[in-house]
Protein backbone atom coordinates (compact mmCIF):
# COMPACT_ATOMS: atom_id res chain seq x y z
CA UNK A 1 0.00 0.00 0.00
CA UNK A 2 1.71 3.20 -1.20
CA UNK A 3 0.28 6.29 0.45
CA UNK A 4 0.89 9.91 -0.51
CA UNK A 5 0.20 12.70 1.96
CA UNK A 6 0.02 16.33 0.84
CA UNK A 7 1.05 18.92 3.42
CA UNK A 8 1.41 22.71 3.46
CA UNK A 9 3.93 24.89 5.25
CA UNK A 10 2.01 27.53 7.25
CA UNK A 11 3.10 30.06 9.88
CA UNK A 12 2.81 28.92 13.48
CA UNK A 13 0.21 31.32 14.78
CA UNK A 14 0.38 32.25 18.42
CA UNK A 15 -1.61 35.37 19.16
CA UNK A 16 -2.56 37.88 16.48
CA UNK A 17 -1.27 38.17 12.94
CA UNK A 18 0.52 41.21 11.51
CA UNK A 19 0.28 41.93 7.77
CA UNK A 20 3.26 42.85 5.58
CA UNK A 21 3.58 46.38 4.10
CA UNK A 22 2.23 45.34 0.69
CA UNK A 23 -0.92 44.00 2.36
CA UNK A 24 -0.54 40.57 0.75
CA UNK A 25 1.04 38.33 3.36
CA UNK A 26 1.41 37.55 7.02
CA UNK A 27 4.54 39.08 8.56
CA UNK A 28 6.36 35.82 9.26
CA UNK A 29 9.98 36.91 9.85
CA UNK A 30 9.59 36.23 13.57
CA UNK A 31 7.24 33.26 13.28
CA UNK A 32 8.04 29.57 13.22
CA UNK A 33 6.39 27.29 10.66
CA UNK A 34 4.37 24.13 10.88
CA UNK A 35 1.73 22.25 8.88
CA UNK A 36 -2.04 22.38 9.25
CA UNK A 37 -3.50 20.29 12.11
CA UNK A 38 -5.58 18.27 9.64
CA UNK A 39 -2.33 17.29 7.89
CA UNK A 40 -0.58 16.18 11.08
CA UNK A 41 -3.25 13.51 11.52
CA UNK A 42 -3.05 12.72 7.78
CA UNK A 43 0.64 11.80 8.06
CA UNK A 44 0.07 9.84 11.27
CA UNK A 45 -2.75 7.88 9.59
CA UNK A 46 -0.56 7.12 6.56
CA UNK A 47 2.24 5.82 8.79
CA UNK A 48 -0.26 3.62 10.68
CA UNK A 49 -1.72 2.21 7.43
CA UNK A 50 1.76 1.29 6.19
CA UNK A 51 2.72 -0.20 9.58
CA UNK A 52 -0.32 -2.44 9.24
CA UNK A 53 -0.32 -3.25 5.52
CA UNK A 54 3.28 -2.65 4.42
CA UNK A 55 4.26 -0.24 1.66
CA UNK A 56 5.57 3.30 1.74
CA UNK A 57 4.61 6.82 2.78
CA UNK A 58 5.52 9.75 0.55
CA UNK A 59 5.04 13.36 1.64
CA UNK A 60 4.42 16.04 -0.98
CA UNK A 61 4.31 19.78 -0.57
CA UNK A 62 4.07 22.83 -2.81
CA UNK A 63 5.95 25.70 -1.27
CA UNK A 64 9.24 27.56 -0.94
CA UNK A 65 12.60 25.77 -0.66
CA UNK A 66 12.32 26.18 3.12
CA UNK A 67 9.34 23.79 3.10
CA UNK A 68 11.98 21.04 3.14
CA UNK A 69 11.87 21.59 6.93
CA UNK A 70 8.22 20.42 7.02
CA UNK A 71 8.98 17.40 4.82
CA UNK A 72 11.89 16.36 7.09
CA UNK A 73 9.66 16.71 10.17
CA UNK A 74 7.16 14.29 8.66
CA UNK A 75 9.98 11.94 7.67
CA UNK A 76 10.95 11.87 11.34
CA UNK A 77 7.41 10.63 12.06
CA UNK A 78 7.85 7.84 9.50
CA UNK A 79 7.45 9.11 5.93
CA UNK A 80 9.92 7.44 3.56
CA UNK A 81 10.44 10.00 0.84
CA UNK A 82 9.46 13.50 -0.18
CA UNK A 83 8.37 15.49 -3.22
CA UNK A 84 8.91 19.25 -3.03
CA UNK A 85 7.18 21.32 -5.71
CA UNK A 86 9.28 24.39 -5.26
CA UNK A 87 7.85 27.90 -5.61
CA UNK A 88 9.45 31.31 -5.19
CA UNK A 89 7.27 31.90 -2.14
CA UNK A 90 4.33 33.50 -3.98
CA UNK A 91 0.99 31.88 -3.19
CA UNK A 92 -0.49 29.49 -5.76
CA UNK A 93 -4.27 29.48 -6.10
CA UNK A 94 -6.21 26.22 -5.56
CA UNK A 95 -6.47 25.34 -9.28
CA UNK A 96 -2.77 25.85 -9.93
CA UNK A 97 -1.87 23.93 -6.76
CA UNK A 98 -4.11 21.01 -7.71
CA UNK A 99 -2.72 20.86 -11.27
CA UNK A 100 0.88 20.80 -10.02
CA UNK A 101 0.08 18.08 -7.47
CA UNK A 102 -1.79 15.95 -10.04
CA UNK A 103 1.12 16.29 -12.50
CA UNK A 104 3.59 15.21 -9.82
CA UNK A 105 1.44 12.18 -8.98
CA UNK A 106 0.97 11.20 -12.63
CA UNK A 107 4.69 11.41 -13.32
CA UNK A 108 5.76 9.58 -10.17
CA UNK A 109 7.04 6.00 -10.31
CA UNK A 110 4.37 4.98 -7.76
CA UNK A 111 0.64 4.86 -8.49
CA UNK A 112 -0.25 5.72 -4.87
CA UNK A 113 -3.16 3.57 -3.71
CA UNK A 114 -4.31 6.31 -1.40
CA UNK A 115 -3.73 10.08 -1.46
CA UNK A 116 -4.49 11.78 1.86
CA UNK A 117 -4.84 15.53 2.35
CA UNK A 118 -6.19 17.83 5.03
CA UNK A 119 -9.84 18.84 4.60
CA UNK A 120 -8.71 22.46 4.20
CA UNK A 121 -5.45 24.29 4.75
CA UNK A 122 -5.14 26.25 7.97
CA UNK A 123 -4.23 29.46 6.14
CA UNK A 124 -6.09 29.71 2.81
CA UNK A 125 -8.99 27.39 3.78
CA UNK A 126 -10.20 26.90 0.20
CA UNK A 127 -11.78 23.43 0.72
CA UNK A 128 -11.02 22.32 -2.84
CA UNK A 129 -7.47 21.20 -3.67
CA UNK A 130 -8.13 17.53 -2.82
CA UNK A 131 -11.33 17.47 -4.87
CA UNK A 132 -9.62 19.07 -7.87
CA UNK A 133 -6.72 16.60 -7.66
CA UNK A 134 -9.16 13.67 -7.53
CA UNK A 135 -10.95 14.90 -10.67
CA UNK A 136 -7.64 15.28 -12.51
CA UNK A 137 -6.63 11.75 -11.52
CA UNK A 138 -10.08 10.32 -12.24
CA UNK A 139 -10.28 8.84 -8.75
CA UNK A 140 -13.08 8.89 -6.16
CA UNK A 141 -12.71 11.33 -3.26
CA UNK A 142 -14.35 11.49 0.15
CA UNK A 143 -13.83 14.63 2.24
CA UNK A 144 -14.04 15.60 5.91
CA UNK A 145 -13.20 12.12 7.15
CA UNK A 146 -12.58 11.07 10.76
CA UNK A 147 -12.22 7.31 10.32
CA UNK A 148 -10.34 5.22 7.74
CA UNK A 149 -10.41 1.45 7.27
CA UNK A 150 -8.34 0.09 4.41
CA UNK A 151 -8.71 -3.39 2.90
CA UNK A 152 -6.87 -4.82 -0.12
CA UNK A 153 -8.63 -2.86 -2.85
CA UNK A 154 -11.28 -0.88 -1.00
CA UNK A 155 -11.46 1.68 1.76
CA UNK A 156 -14.25 2.69 4.11
CA UNK A 157 -14.36 6.27 5.31
CA UNK A 158 -16.39 7.73 8.19
CA UNK A 159 -17.57 11.28 8.05
CA UNK A 160 -19.09 13.03 11.06
CA UNK A 161 -22.37 14.82 10.33
CA UNK A 162 -24.94 16.52 12.53
CA UNK A 163 -27.03 13.42 12.95
CA UNK A 164 -24.09 11.11 13.67
CA UNK A 165 -21.90 9.83 10.89
CA UNK A 166 -21.97 8.77 7.27
CA UNK A 167 -20.06 5.86 5.78
CA UNK A 168 -18.51 5.86 2.33
CA UNK A 169 -17.07 2.77 0.72
CA UNK A 170 -14.93 3.35 -2.37
CA UNK A 171 -12.52 1.30 -4.49
CA UNK A 172 -8.81 2.09 -4.37
CA UNK A 173 -6.95 4.01 -5.64
CA UNK A 174 -8.76 6.93 -4.04
CA UNK A 175 -8.25 10.38 -2.55
CA UNK A 176 -9.43 11.32 0.93
CA UNK A 177 -9.33 14.53 2.96
CA UNK A 178 -9.24 14.20 6.72
CA UNK A 179 -10.11 16.16 9.85
CA UNK A 180 -8.13 16.83 13.00
CA UNK A 181 -9.15 14.29 15.65
CA UNK A 182 -8.77 11.31 13.28
CA UNK A 183 -5.97 10.12 15.58
CA UNK A 184 -3.44 11.52 18.02
CA UNK A 185 -0.20 12.09 16.09
CA UNK A 186 3.00 10.69 17.62
CA UNK A 187 6.02 12.83 18.41
CA UNK A 188 9.15 12.25 16.33
CA UNK A 189 11.82 10.13 18.00
CA UNK A 190 15.51 11.07 18.05
CA UNK A 191 16.48 8.10 15.80
CA UNK A 192 13.57 9.10 13.57
CA UNK A 193 15.00 12.61 13.23
CA UNK A 194 18.44 11.21 12.39
CA UNK A 195 17.02 8.86 9.75
CA UNK A 196 14.96 11.71 8.30
CA UNK A 197 18.08 13.64 7.32
CA UNK A 198 19.12 10.95 4.83
CA UNK A 199 15.76 10.24 3.21
CA UNK A 200 15.36 11.27 -0.45
CA UNK A 201 13.49 14.38 -1.60
CA UNK A 202 12.65 14.89 -5.26
CA UNK A 203 12.39 18.51 -6.35
CA UNK A 204 10.24 19.90 -9.15
CA UNK A 205 9.75 23.53 -10.13
CA UNK A 206 6.89 24.10 -12.55
CA UNK A 207 5.87 27.59 -13.70
CA UNK A 208 3.26 29.36 -11.59
CA UNK A 209 0.11 29.93 -13.68
CA UNK A 210 -1.78 33.23 -13.38
CA UNK A 211 -4.16 32.91 -10.42
CA UNK A 212 -7.88 32.74 -11.19
CA UNK A 213 -8.63 33.29 -7.52
CA UNK A 214 -6.36 36.30 -7.12
CA UNK A 215 -5.61 37.54 -3.64
CA UNK A 216 -5.51 41.34 -3.67
CA UNK A 217 -5.36 42.19 0.01
CA UNK A 218 -5.18 40.63 3.46
CA UNK A 219 -6.34 42.28 6.63
CA UNK A 220 -6.85 41.56 10.29
CA UNK A 221 -10.58 41.91 11.00
CA UNK A 222 -11.41 44.91 13.11
CA UNK A 223 -12.88 43.58 16.30
CA UNK A 224 -13.14 45.66 19.40
CA UNK A 225 -10.33 44.50 21.63
CA UNK A 226 -12.14 43.74 24.85
CA UNK A 227 -10.81 44.99 28.13
CA UNK A 228 -11.52 42.13 30.51
CA UNK A 229 -12.85 43.24 33.87
CA UNK A 230 -10.73 41.52 36.52
CA UNK A 231 -13.04 40.04 39.16
CA UNK A 232 -10.23 39.21 41.55
CA UNK A 233 -7.31 36.96 42.33
CA UNK A 234 -7.62 33.30 43.26
CA UNK A 235 -10.51 31.70 45.15
CA UNK A 236 -11.76 34.97 46.70
CA UNK A 237 -13.09 35.96 43.27
CA UNK A 238 -15.66 33.13 43.44
CA UNK A 239 -18.56 35.22 44.78
CA UNK A 240 -18.07 37.83 42.03
CA UNK A 241 -18.06 35.07 39.39
CA UNK A 242 -21.32 33.61 40.69
CA UNK A 243 -22.79 37.13 40.65
CA UNK A 244 -22.06 37.19 36.88
CA UNK A 245 -23.73 33.77 36.53
CA UNK A 246 -26.85 35.28 38.10
CA UNK A 247 -26.73 38.41 35.92
CA UNK A 248 -26.69 36.41 32.68
CA UNK A 249 -29.20 33.94 34.04
CA UNK A 250 -27.27 30.69 33.92
CA UNK A 251 -27.94 29.93 37.57
Amino acid sequence: MDVLVCIKRVPLSGGKFTITGDGLDIESAKLGFTISPHEEVAVEEAVRIVEQHGGSVTVLTLGPADAEEQIREQMAIGADRGILIETNGAEWDPQATASAIADAINEDESDFDLVIMGNESADASGYQVGIRVAHKLGRPIVTGVKGITVAADRATFERPVKAGRELYEVPLPAVVTVLDGLNIPRYPSVPGRIRAKKKPIERRSPERPEPKLEKTRLEVPQTEAKQAQVLGNGPEAAAAVVEIFKQIGVI
Binding site: S13, G14, G15, K16, F17, P37, H38, D93, P94, E120, A122, D123, S125, G126, Y127, Q128, I131, R132, A134, H135, P140, V142, T143, R159, A163, G164, R165, E166, L167, Y168, V170, D180, G181, I184, P211, K212, L213, L218, E219, V220, P221, A225, K226, A228, Q229, V230, L231, G232, N233, G234, P235, E236, A238, A239, V241, V242, I244, F245, V250, I251
Partner: protein, 323 residues
Protein backbone atom coordinates in the same frame (compact mmCIF):
# COMPACT_ATOMS: atom_id res chain seq x y z
CA UNK B 1 -29.43 34.51 -13.09
CA UNK B 2 -28.28 33.76 -9.57
CA UNK B 3 -28.42 30.04 -8.75
CA UNK B 4 -28.34 28.85 -5.13
CA UNK B 5 -27.50 25.23 -4.36
CA UNK B 6 -29.86 24.28 -1.55
CA UNK B 7 -29.01 21.41 0.76
CA UNK B 8 -31.61 19.24 2.43
CA UNK B 9 -31.61 15.97 4.26
CA UNK B 10 -34.29 13.72 2.75
CA UNK B 11 -36.64 16.68 2.42
CA UNK B 12 -35.63 18.58 5.60
CA UNK B 13 -34.28 21.98 4.53
CA UNK B 14 -30.82 23.05 5.70
CA UNK B 15 -31.26 26.33 7.57
CA UNK B 16 -27.88 27.67 6.42
CA UNK B 17 -28.97 27.19 2.81
CA UNK B 18 -31.82 29.62 3.49
CA UNK B 19 -29.20 32.20 4.47
CA UNK B 20 -27.48 31.61 1.13
CA UNK B 21 -30.88 32.06 -0.59
CA UNK B 22 -31.39 35.34 1.29
CA UNK B 23 -27.95 36.57 0.23
CA UNK B 24 -28.55 35.36 -3.32
CA UNK B 25 -31.81 37.33 -3.42
CA UNK B 26 -29.90 40.52 -2.54
CA UNK B 27 -27.35 39.80 -5.29
CA UNK B 28 -30.09 39.11 -7.83
CA UNK B 29 -31.93 42.31 -6.88
CA UNK B 30 -28.74 44.36 -7.23
CA UNK B 31 -28.08 43.07 -10.74
CA UNK B 32 -31.73 42.82 -11.81
CA UNK B 33 -31.52 39.07 -12.32
CA UNK B 34 -33.76 36.15 -11.46
CA UNK B 35 -33.11 34.00 -8.38
CA UNK B 36 -33.28 30.24 -8.92
CA UNK B 37 -32.42 27.31 -6.67
CA UNK B 38 -31.34 23.73 -7.21
CA UNK B 39 -32.29 20.87 -4.93
CA UNK B 40 -30.96 17.40 -5.59
CA UNK B 41 -33.17 14.34 -5.05
CA UNK B 42 -36.89 13.98 -5.76
CA UNK B 43 -37.76 14.36 -2.05
CA UNK B 44 -36.26 17.85 -2.25
CA UNK B 45 -39.37 19.11 -4.05
CA UNK B 46 -41.03 19.45 -0.64
CA UNK B 47 -38.87 22.47 0.17
CA UNK B 48 -40.06 24.45 -2.86
CA UNK B 49 -42.71 26.31 -0.83
CA UNK B 50 -40.20 27.60 1.67
CA UNK B 51 -37.83 28.61 -1.13
CA UNK B 52 -40.62 30.50 -2.91
CA UNK B 53 -41.31 32.45 0.29
CA UNK B 54 -37.65 33.43 0.26
CA UNK B 55 -37.82 34.81 -3.27
CA UNK B 56 -36.83 31.86 -5.45
CA UNK B 57 -38.50 32.05 -8.89
CA UNK B 58 -37.79 28.53 -10.11
CA UNK B 59 -36.78 25.55 -8.02
CA UNK B 60 -34.87 23.07 -10.19
CA UNK B 61 -35.27 19.56 -8.80
CA UNK B 62 -32.70 17.01 -9.97
CA UNK B 63 -34.51 13.67 -9.75
CA UNK B 64 -32.69 10.45 -10.55
CA UNK B 65 -33.08 6.86 -9.39
CA UNK B 66 -29.61 6.91 -7.85
CA UNK B 67 -30.09 10.23 -6.08
CA UNK B 68 -31.74 9.51 -2.76
CA UNK B 69 -28.72 9.75 -0.47
CA UNK B 70 -26.10 12.49 -0.60
CA UNK B 71 -23.76 12.01 -3.58
CA UNK B 72 -21.47 15.05 -3.98
CA UNK B 73 -20.22 14.46 -7.54
CA UNK B 74 -23.71 13.78 -8.88
CA UNK B 75 -25.00 16.91 -7.11
CA UNK B 76 -22.26 18.99 -8.74
CA UNK B 77 -23.00 17.40 -12.14
CA UNK B 78 -26.66 18.46 -11.80
CA UNK B 79 -25.56 21.97 -10.76
CA UNK B 80 -23.28 22.24 -13.77
CA UNK B 81 -26.17 21.23 -16.05
CA UNK B 82 -28.58 23.80 -14.58
CA UNK B 83 -25.96 26.57 -14.50
CA UNK B 84 -25.17 26.01 -18.19
CA UNK B 85 -28.82 25.74 -19.25
CA UNK B 86 -29.92 28.88 -17.39
CA UNK B 87 -26.77 30.92 -18.07
CA UNK B 88 -26.19 31.57 -14.38
CA UNK B 89 -23.79 34.42 -13.56
CA UNK B 90 -23.33 33.41 -9.93
CA UNK B 91 -23.66 29.99 -8.28
CA UNK B 92 -23.89 30.25 -4.51
CA UNK B 93 -24.03 27.73 -1.66
CA UNK B 94 -23.74 27.78 2.11
CA UNK B 95 -20.18 27.41 3.42
CA UNK B 96 -21.01 24.13 5.13
CA UNK B 97 -19.07 20.88 4.70
CA UNK B 98 -21.56 19.83 2.00
CA UNK B 99 -21.87 23.28 0.40
CA UNK B 100 -18.10 23.68 0.12
CA UNK B 101 -17.72 20.11 -1.13
CA UNK B 102 -20.32 20.30 -3.91
CA UNK B 103 -19.00 23.73 -4.99
CA UNK B 104 -15.45 22.39 -5.21
CA UNK B 105 -16.68 19.49 -7.37
CA UNK B 106 -18.51 22.00 -9.56
CA UNK B 107 -15.28 24.00 -9.84
CA UNK B 108 -13.37 20.89 -10.84
CA UNK B 109 -16.02 19.78 -13.39
CA UNK B 110 -16.21 23.23 -15.03
CA UNK B 111 -12.53 24.13 -14.47
CA UNK B 112 -13.62 27.39 -12.85
CA UNK B 113 -12.19 28.98 -9.70
CA UNK B 114 -14.11 28.71 -6.42
CA UNK B 115 -14.07 31.22 -3.56
CA UNK B 116 -15.09 29.42 -0.37
CA UNK B 117 -16.21 31.03 2.89
CA UNK B 118 -17.09 34.46 1.48
CA UNK B 119 -18.59 37.24 3.58
CA UNK B 120 -19.21 39.50 0.58
CA UNK B 121 -19.60 38.97 -3.17
CA UNK B 122 -19.68 41.76 -5.80
CA UNK B 123 -20.45 40.18 -9.20
CA UNK B 124 -18.56 41.59 -12.17
CA UNK B 125 -15.60 40.91 -14.34
CA UNK B 126 -13.77 39.90 -12.29
CA UNK B 127 -16.13 39.18 -9.39
CA UNK B 128 -14.76 40.72 -6.23
CA UNK B 129 -15.05 38.70 -3.05
CA UNK B 130 -14.14 39.13 0.58
CA UNK B 131 -13.48 35.82 2.28
CA UNK B 132 -12.41 34.36 5.62
CA UNK B 133 -8.99 32.82 6.15
CA UNK B 134 -7.57 31.12 9.21
CA UNK B 135 -11.08 30.36 10.46
CA UNK B 136 -11.94 34.07 10.33
CA UNK B 137 -8.75 35.34 12.01
CA UNK B 138 -7.82 37.01 8.72
CA UNK B 139 -9.91 38.53 5.95
CA UNK B 140 -8.89 38.27 2.29
CA UNK B 141 -10.00 40.44 -0.61
CA UNK B 142 -9.72 38.60 -3.91
CA UNK B 143 -10.65 38.73 -7.60
CA UNK B 144 -12.48 35.71 -8.93
CA UNK B 145 -11.79 35.35 -12.68
CA UNK B 146 -14.41 33.26 -14.47
CA UNK B 147 -18.12 32.98 -15.16
CA UNK B 148 -20.25 31.88 -13.51
CA UNK B 149 -18.72 33.00 -10.23
CA UNK B 150 -18.68 29.99 -7.87
CA UNK B 151 -18.87 31.05 -4.23
CA UNK B 152 -19.85 29.76 -0.80
CA UNK B 153 -20.97 31.95 2.04
CA UNK B 154 -19.68 31.85 5.65
CA UNK B 155 -22.56 30.68 7.89
CA UNK B 156 -24.42 33.56 9.60
CA UNK B 157 -23.13 36.22 7.18
CA UNK B 158 -26.81 37.16 6.84
CA UNK B 159 -29.90 35.97 8.69
CA UNK B 160 -32.41 33.97 6.66
CA UNK B 161 -35.38 36.24 5.90
CA UNK B 162 -38.44 35.64 3.75
CA UNK B 163 -38.95 38.18 0.96
CA UNK B 164 -39.04 38.79 -2.74
CA UNK B 165 -41.78 37.78 -5.13
CA UNK B 166 -40.63 34.31 -6.13
CA UNK B 167 -43.22 31.81 -7.25
CA UNK B 168 -41.17 28.80 -6.29
CA UNK B 169 -42.21 27.03 -9.51
CA UNK B 170 -41.00 23.45 -9.73
CA UNK B 171 -38.85 22.40 -12.69
CA UNK B 172 -38.01 18.72 -12.28
CA UNK B 173 -35.35 17.20 -14.54
CA UNK B 174 -33.22 14.08 -14.77
CA UNK B 175 -29.55 15.04 -14.69
CA UNK B 176 -27.22 13.33 -17.12
CA UNK B 177 -24.79 11.54 -14.89
CA UNK B 178 -21.44 10.22 -16.08
CA UNK B 179 -19.93 6.87 -15.10
CA UNK B 180 -18.69 7.03 -11.57
CA UNK B 181 -20.77 10.05 -10.51
CA UNK B 182 -22.57 7.83 -8.00
CA UNK B 183 -19.45 5.98 -6.88
CA UNK B 184 -19.18 8.17 -3.80
CA UNK B 185 -22.48 8.11 -1.94
CA UNK B 186 -23.28 8.49 1.75
CA UNK B 187 -24.53 5.53 3.69
CA UNK B 188 -25.90 6.75 7.03
CA UNK B 189 -24.44 4.85 9.98
CA UNK B 190 -26.64 3.90 12.91
CA UNK B 191 -27.21 7.00 15.02
CA UNK B 192 -25.22 6.93 18.22
CA UNK B 193 -26.70 7.63 21.60
CA UNK B 194 -25.49 11.04 22.61
CA UNK B 195 -25.72 11.87 26.29
CA UNK B 196 -26.11 15.42 27.54
CA UNK B 197 -25.92 18.69 25.63
CA UNK B 198 -24.06 18.84 22.31
CA UNK B 199 -21.12 21.22 22.16
CA UNK B 200 -22.40 23.16 19.14
CA UNK B 201 -25.78 23.84 20.79
CA UNK B 202 -24.64 24.31 24.41
CA UNK B 203 -25.67 27.52 26.20
CA UNK B 204 -22.85 27.20 28.72
CA UNK B 205 -19.41 25.74 27.99
CA UNK B 206 -16.75 25.17 30.62
CA UNK B 207 -13.59 24.80 28.58
CA UNK B 208 -10.12 23.70 29.64
CA UNK B 209 -6.63 24.15 28.22
CA UNK B 210 -3.06 23.32 29.08
CA UNK B 211 -3.45 25.06 32.47
CA UNK B 212 -5.86 22.35 33.64
CA UNK B 213 -2.78 20.15 33.85
CA UNK B 214 -4.14 16.62 33.38
CA UNK B 215 -7.15 14.50 32.49
CA UNK B 216 -8.01 14.33 36.20
CA UNK B 217 -7.85 18.12 36.37
CA UNK B 218 -11.11 18.23 34.38
CA UNK B 219 -13.16 16.91 37.33
CA UNK B 220 -14.03 20.39 38.70
CA UNK B 221 -14.79 21.62 35.15
CA UNK B 222 -17.27 18.76 34.79
CA UNK B 223 -18.84 19.56 38.13
CA UNK B 224 -19.28 23.24 37.25
CA UNK B 225 -20.63 22.39 33.78
CA UNK B 226 -23.24 20.14 35.38
CA UNK B 227 -24.23 22.82 37.90
CA UNK B 228 -24.77 25.32 35.09
CA UNK B 229 -26.50 22.87 32.74
CA UNK B 230 -23.62 23.15 30.31
CA UNK B 231 -21.01 20.98 28.76
CA UNK B 232 -17.23 20.57 28.54
CA UNK B 233 -15.01 22.07 25.84
CA UNK B 234 -11.24 22.03 25.48
CA UNK B 235 -8.30 23.32 23.47
CA UNK B 236 -6.21 21.42 20.93
CA UNK B 237 -3.38 20.90 23.43
CA UNK B 238 -5.80 18.96 25.60
CA UNK B 239 -6.95 16.59 22.85
CA UNK B 240 -3.35 16.25 21.63
CA UNK B 241 -2.37 15.10 25.14
CA UNK B 242 -5.25 12.63 25.14
CA UNK B 243 -6.89 14.24 28.19
CA UNK B 244 -10.24 14.69 26.43
CA UNK B 245 -11.82 13.37 23.19
CA UNK B 246 -11.60 15.45 20.02
CA UNK B 247 -15.40 15.78 19.95
CA UNK B 248 -14.98 18.32 22.78
CA UNK B 249 -12.35 20.42 20.99
CA UNK B 250 -13.33 24.04 20.36
CA UNK B 251 -11.42 25.82 17.61
CA UNK B 252 -10.60 26.22 13.93
CA UNK B 253 -10.15 22.45 13.51
CA UNK B 254 -12.67 21.55 16.20
CA UNK B 255 -16.20 22.77 16.83
CA UNK B 256 -17.14 26.43 16.40
CA UNK B 257 -19.41 27.47 19.26
CA UNK B 258 -21.54 30.48 20.23
CA UNK B 259 -22.77 29.87 23.80
CA UNK B 260 -24.30 32.44 26.17
CA UNK B 261 -21.37 31.81 28.53
CA UNK B 262 -17.89 30.49 27.78
CA UNK B 263 -15.64 29.85 30.77
CA UNK B 264 -12.05 29.46 29.54
CA UNK B 265 -9.95 27.70 32.17
CA UNK B 266 -6.19 27.67 31.69
CA UNK B 267 -6.48 28.49 27.96
CA UNK B 268 -3.85 30.87 26.53
CA UNK B 269 -5.88 31.95 23.48
CA UNK B 270 -4.05 30.80 20.34
CA UNK B 271 -5.75 31.88 17.09
CA UNK B 272 -6.66 28.22 16.51
CA UNK B 273 -8.79 28.29 19.67
CA UNK B 274 -10.18 31.82 19.34
CA UNK B 275 -11.50 30.96 15.85
CA UNK B 276 -13.88 28.55 17.60
CA UNK B 277 -15.10 30.63 20.55
CA UNK B 278 -15.01 34.26 19.42
CA UNK B 279 -18.82 34.30 19.10
CA UNK B 280 -19.49 33.52 22.77
CA UNK B 281 -21.88 36.16 24.20
CA UNK B 282 -20.00 36.35 27.51
CA UNK B 283 -16.54 35.01 28.22
CA UNK B 284 -15.05 34.50 31.67
CA UNK B 285 -11.36 33.62 31.76
CA UNK B 286 -9.55 31.89 34.61
CA UNK B 287 -5.81 32.08 34.06
CA UNK B 288 -2.62 32.56 36.07
CA UNK B 289 -1.26 34.89 33.37
CA UNK B 290 -2.94 38.33 33.26
CA UNK B 291 -1.17 38.96 29.92
CA UNK B 292 -2.52 35.81 28.19
CA UNK B 293 -3.81 36.48 24.63
CA UNK B 294 -7.29 35.27 25.61
CA UNK B 295 -7.74 38.29 27.91
CA UNK B 296 -8.31 40.36 24.74
CA UNK B 297 -11.51 38.39 24.07
CA UNK B 298 -12.75 38.08 27.66
CA UNK B 299 -15.45 40.07 29.41
CA UNK B 300 -14.38 39.01 32.89
CA UNK B 301 -11.20 37.50 34.27
CA UNK B 302 -10.05 35.78 37.43
CA UNK B 303 -6.29 35.69 37.87
CA UNK B 304 -5.39 32.42 39.49
CA UNK B 305 -4.87 28.69 39.26
CA UNK B 306 -7.85 26.79 37.84
CA UNK B 307 -7.47 23.98 40.40
CA UNK B 308 -7.86 26.49 43.27
CA UNK B 309 -10.39 28.91 41.77
CA UNK B 310 -12.92 26.39 40.41
CA UNK B 311 -13.68 24.59 43.70
CA UNK B 312 -14.45 27.97 45.30
CA UNK B 313 -16.75 28.92 42.40
CA UNK B 314 -18.50 25.53 42.62
CA UNK B 315 -19.08 26.03 46.34
CA UNK B 316 -20.50 29.54 45.81
CA UNK B 317 -22.64 28.34 42.91
CA UNK B 318 -24.10 25.53 45.04
CA UNK B 319 -24.95 28.03 47.77
CA UNK B 320 -26.62 30.32 45.26
CA UNK B 321 -28.67 27.43 43.85
CA UNK B 322 -29.69 26.23 47.31
CA UNK B 323 -30.54 29.77 48.52
Amino acid sequence: MVLVLVDHDHGVLDELSLQAVTYGRELAAATGEQLDALVVGADGSGVAGALGEHGVATVHVAAHDGLTDYAPVAAARAASEVAARTGASVVLAAGTPRGNEVMAHLGAITDLPVAADCVSVAPGSPTQVVRARWGGSLIEEANLHGSPALVTLVPHTVAAEPGGSGAGDLAQFTPELADGDLLVIARPAAAEEKAGVSLADAKVIVSGGRGVGSAEGFAPLEELAELLGGTIGCSRVVTGNGWRPHTEQVGQTGTKVAPDLYIACGISGATQHIAGCRNAKTMIVINTDPEAAIMGYADYAVIGDVSKVLPAIIEEAKKAKAG
